[in-house]
Homo-oligomer: 217 residues x 4
DNA sequence: AATGAATGAGTATTCATTCAT
DNA sequence: TATGAATGAATACTCATTCAT
């Protein structure tokens, strides 16, 4: 599934499909090099000639597969979001029969773990992608997660107070995403502390329980 | 207060203090033009020569006051965060004797209103600033707000369940900021709907009430 | 005759003689595709890779028969001039026993018709060939025509006033060629009007009659 | 008049008008260098960086005045056609009261002289300009000459046989232009021989006298 | 012979920044 | 102080051509 998604997005991004082993390795090397340069030196250092050189490939070959510079970054982001989507879908499945508390715990930990996983690259992307209009790519992943979450919340309707499951899912997912992103950018030590998870769980469970009574009004 | 903050930050950014009336007007015009171009045509169109031309100023004069291109954007952001800070501090003061519910309502609405205020410019900045390392500037504003919020929450200690007022304040402020930003970028219609405010209030109040009991553990 | 001319010129242009049926078809397809692209999209769009692709041939095969890009264009021009030469020689033969007036009429109409025949391609070539040093190719055709014309004029010596039959033939052929070319480029409507033929005939007959008396001086 | 024409065309071609002495010299140097490279090494050698370097100017300065590479060539051609126009207009004036024979002689010699004047540059342009769509620029000059010639021919109506003075003028001008161009390209020795002038005069006078009677039909 | 993936020299153009006037 | 002409390093991208398979 994730593989299919990847292939489809590649088709819209790549100039031509790498068929041979050799060209697949070439494309992979270019994307990997893109990531490395982005992490090490940031977007301004990401020049097509440099990517090609560091990947041990001629500039012509780069353009054989990537129509322009942005396509390189796009391919990287697409690959990452495909991976994310894959693990999130696994999460969604295992959510199925969990209690509210257990499920929320799983989601929170998954969000934090995902952020910690490739922290350096993820951080670089957070800084550079907005301008490239590629936040949408991550947004798509979030959208899928929201759907799964909304379904699960609906199945837990007796445990939660919600006016709008879909909006609730959107807020929860967005908040988790945004909060872990900001932690990565500005408070990286929080990602290593159990306190962050605890507070996030409290926030989500509190929201869904609506002790404040806002949603019952 | 806001004026002082502005002057301090300016001192680190500007090449020299504009002392004369004329110079002040020049600096103001350049920053205003920067904002206009950013809104109208985005970051790629923001070239120093163009800013100078549209501001009716020679490129040489621009460099008399701004050491490099980024300084222009930085000055704009600093001006905006100073304004934000000012209005947030006003908010903090009027929070003082409010009930938990009323206070949270005020904060939520303030966050949404601030985002809607200069939406076009704010959106442009959200997309371009990460790369400029200027998220910190907004982060400073958030920091001040967090302090004020922590104080207020502490004074409401009997109404709320918190292990760590400062962390709670951080999460609340960050969540509000991040969620309104994302709404601006991806769901602008939400900013116009009362649903967003309602859900945000529910989330914060639920968090502070800890119906889930996570924080009591 | 035309066939021989073609083969000889090919030998100087092609990397090797296409012996097999298959290779001949390949060479033909490449030249035809060259013409098509030239007509449709002009010289800048004429890239070797594109010619090969549109001809359904690998780029490697193209270079098997054409040493470089210009050779493609040269082959096309040679083919065209061979065809031209062939029809002009036919014309020369049928000129033989014509009166001055009838003969000039034939020549003028032949020149106009030749220009109109493949107008789009011819126009593209006129614009691109000078730079390729291929005007000489057309010049060779003209040279042959001049010889034939000079012979015929000499045989009509009693009807015409000429100091130098060969120079006269050169001028007549060159003028006809140049005037029809310019008409194609700048006054295409003239090519469709009988006025052009009438004036050209008047010019040539006037020249050969030397009413002005210049040549008798 | 020629000065006005030049200024107007420059305005449509140049990015900005060179106001200072220094910048005028810069623009002049760039155009002169363009001509020199074109003569010496042809169009493929005409790269913007090289023009700038050989003109002793930075590449940035070149682009300050010329929007793109073609503009450089266009400016050169415009300058030349302005000069041509100027001398042709002088010719037109002095044609006024000349007899048919004398007038035609003047025109023929003017055409030959113009071609010989800057032969090297003119030759280079003949080879490269068609592709640049700049033949039109020369065509404009011819158009003006045709008008003047048509007027003069009309005033000599009793000496000449014409159905269409304007078409006759077009043919004469085009033939002269084309024939001298071809001579320059393929028979440069003709330009130095009195024979060319003699034959051209015979052709034109013959045409206008219509001994053949074609036009009287 | 045929293929087409790979090559890399080459080119137009931009734009932040300087500095002579 | 102000000007804006001049600078030139830097970069994305093309396309004729080669050569391993």
């Amino acid at each position: 599934m994730a593989r299919e998604a990847r292939r489809r997005s590649m088709r819209t991004n790549l100039r031509k499909q790498p068929m041979q082993e050799r060209s697949k390795a070439l494309v992979t090397a270019l994307i990997r090099t893109t990531a490395r340069i982005l992490i090490r030196d940031g977007w301004p250092a990401l020049t097509t000639n440099r990517v090609a050189r560091e990947a041990g490939v001629s500039i012509g070959s780069l353009y054989q597969y990537f129509p322009d510079k942005d396509a390189l970054a796009r391919a990287l982001v697409e690959q990452i979001s495909a991976e994310m989507l894959e693990s999130l879908m696994t999460l969604a499945v295992s959510l199925h029969d969990k209690s509210l508390r257990a499920g929320v715990g799983m989601i929170v930990h998954a969000a934090i773990d995902a952020t910690r996983k490739d922290a350096a690259l993820y951080r670089a992307l957070l800084l550079e992608l907005p301008r490239l209009g590629m936040l949408e790519l991550f947004e798509r992943v979030n959208g899928r997660l929201e759907d799964a979450l909304a379904d699960w919340l609906a199945s837990r309707r007796d445990e939660v107070v919600m006016r709008d499951p879909s909006l609730a899912a959107h807020l929860i997912v967005t908040a988790l995403d945004a909060l872990t992103d900001r932690a990565l950018l500005f408070r990286p030590e929080l990602l290593e502390s159990p306190r962050l998870a605890r507070e996030l769980e409290a926030m989500i469970l509190g929201y869904l329980s609506d002790r404040g009574g806002v949603l019952r009004g």
